[in-house]
């Protein structure tokens, strides 16, 4: 009885007793969720356009952040470094299309998936070779990202909001909005959706696969760079960041592999669920809860909606 009380009653009593703590926890979950969403978004972009599950998305986050910081360390002004990093991400997209996707065109999906493993280890090695493997500090101040926190009086107490988190949320929303408009409304967006549906058919109406692939990988690279800056500003830049990419997996299960809104909502649910679970149920279940809770949430969703929240239900005619 006591255990049941601790699981089903006590946490909610606590939430009611200290609403300011609840709001604080929700906020922190939301912020973590935004970053999960961004990583998942990178996956979804590439998966939609090329059917490739890009294992390297996580490392692209690290690689872009590392390039940015590394360039700055070599004396390049912050904003110039940012522009150069964007250039590097474009070159990466171009190289991926030329050296990986094009030679492997029409190969089974699993081959392409394996190729992204190769890309992952290449980027790790290449990044370490050029910029060194030690942990670096994100150049948040130089990029004029705000620091410090604002205290908001709310829910009978004070809630502390980190300015960098607010900035992250705003930048992420802008980025998502831009991408959404781009893919919904432009000719390239329509071509992209066509490619996602059928390569052969897209080719036959005159869409260049090569061009589309470079565009989506570049878009995914930009998303990775944004994620890298935001995440790096909150902790620091190292290859350990790579593990957050694994968090994208439950997000994708939850949101559906092909849905951009799914990636966003999924990321927020996982982020918030994780923080709430950690704060209120953590003491009961032990401190490691954050590492596995996301997967449990995703599994529960999977039972009821195998195609994910917004995923396309695939009906095969037999």
């Amino acid at each position: 009885m006591d255990l049941l009380y601790k699981i089903f009653i006590d946490p909610f009593v606590q939430m009611g007793a200290a609403p300011d703590l609840l709001v604080q926890t929700l906020w922190e979950g939301l912020v973590a969720g935004v970053l999960y969403s961004l990583i998942a978004l990178g996956f979804v972009l590439i998966f939609k356009a090329s059917g490739v599950f890009n294992f390297a998305q996580g490392i692209m986050v690290v690689f872009s952040a590392l390039t940015l910081v590394g360039l700055h360390e070599h004396g390049v002004p912050a904003y110039v470094a940012l522009v150069l990093t964007i250039g590097v991400m474009f070159c990466l997209a171009f190289a991926v299309e030329r050296l990986i996707l094009r030679p492997l065109i029409n190969q089974p999906d699993i081959i392409l998936f394996m190729a992204t493993f190769g890309l992952t280890y290449f980027l790790i090695g290449f990044g370490e070779l050029i910029f060194g493997g030690e942990t670096k500090v994100m150049i948040a101040d130089q990029l004029l990202l705000p620091r410090g926190a604002i205290e908001v009086k709310m829910a009978g107490g004070f809630v502390s909001l980190q300015k960098i988190d607010i900035a992250a949320a705003i930048i992420a929303s802008l980025m998502v909005a831009t991408l959404a408009i781009f893919f919904q409304r432009t000719r390239i967006g329509r071509a992209l959706r066509a490619v996602a549906d059928s390569h052969r058919a897209a080719l036959s109406v005159g869409i260049s696969l090569e061009q589309i692939w470079v565009i989506v990988w570049f878009a995914a690279g930009l998303v990775a760079l944004t994620t890298g800056i935001m995440w790096g500003a909150r902790s620091d830049v190292s290859f350990a960041l790579e593990v957050i990419a694994l968090k994208a997996l439950p997000v994708l299960i939850l949101g559906g592999l092909t849905s951009i809104p799914g990636a966003i909502v999924g990321g927020l649910i996982i982020g918030i669920g994780e923080k709430i679970g950690e704060f209120y149920w953590g003491p009961l279940l032990g401190s490691g809860i954050e590492t596995w809770l996301a997967y449990v949430i995703a599994l529960i969703f999977l039972l009821f909606r195998p195609q994910g929240l917004f995923g396309e239900r695939i009906i095969e005619r037999i």
Partner: protein, 266 residues
């Protein structure tokens, strides 16, 4: 029979000619040393038993495959390597043996996708769906609606194509190809898997496209009745080799063709 047979039906200029083209996959010869031409305004059939290399031939023409030997001359320009999207830009549209549509999109969007190449407004206007972009969209939509009327698929225009029956999917696919306003339309077994009624419908559409839009058509077909009815000239492939070329009547009476289809008595 469509018209009195004889070479005088297809007197147009040569639109595309295939010159001694060979293609092999590893050691397997799919097409060897095949030459023929397609004249402006005609319906040209490519026939042959299974594995004769017909689809390979079509894939060569629209750039999916690049032949190891020989060349393709399209509108007077020779090329050895042309990518599929370049072929599309040049005015070659096609349909596929087992329908390749954008399954997640509606019939209307599929046909609109065929207009992708014709859209020209800048990015900026497209983002806001305003000004020139809106005008362009409306103009293309108008053309697409014409095609929808032509193919009599008005009532299914909002249905995702994955849910349509096979016969209608083939029709939408034809619509998408027509939306490209091609000079040369390649049809890979447009009537495969259809019942008699659907076949008759499709035959009529093929003839109408040829008459109404003046589109040159090259088609692969198994149903000999259909081929005899539709085509002006027929080229026959067997094991990757051209064994006959001529009007339907000539081909039908050709001993090599009869042997290829029925097998030779030993």
């Amino acid at each position: 029979m469509r018209a009195p047979s004889g070479p005088e039906i297809a007197v147009g200029d040569v639109l595309l000619s295939v010159e001694s083209v060979s293609l092999s996959f590893g050691g397997v010869k799919a097409v060897s040393d095949v030459s023929f031409d397609i004249r402006k305004g005609e319906i040209r059939a490519i026939i042959g038993p299974n594995g004769a290399g017909k689809t390979s031939m079509l894939n060569i023409i629209n750039g999916f495959y690049h032949p190891q030997q020989g060349r393709i001359i399209f509108k007077g320009k020779a090329r050895s390597k042309m990518r599929p999207h370049e072929a599309a830009h040049g005015g070659i549209a096609r349909t596929f043996q087992n329908v390749a549509l954008f399954r997640g999109m509606t019939a209307l969007d599929n046909i609109m996708a065929g207009r992708a190449l014709k859209m020209r407004t800048s990015f900026f206007w497209q983002l806001f769906r305003y000004g020139p972009a809106m005008r362009e969209e409306v103009e293309h939509r108008h053309r697409v609606e014409e095609i929808i009327d032509f193919l009599k698929i008005q009532e299914i225009r909002r249905v995702p194509v994955g849910r349509l029956p096979y016969g209608l999917q083939k029709r939408v696919e034809l619509g998408r190809a027509l939306a490209m306003e091609p000079e040369l339309l390649l049809l890979d077994e447009p009537m495969a898997g259809m019942n008699l009624e659907e076949k008759e419908d499709m035959s009529r559409f093929v003839l109408d496209v040829n008459d109404y839009y003046g589109t040159t058509i090259a088609l692969i077909e198994h149903d000999m009745g259909v081929v005899m009815d539709l085509s002006d000239r027929v080229v026959v492939l067997d094991h990757g080799i051209k064994i006959a070329d001529g009007t339907p009547t000539e081909v039908k009476n050709n001993q090599a063709v009869v042997d290829a289809y029925l097998g030779v008595a030993h």
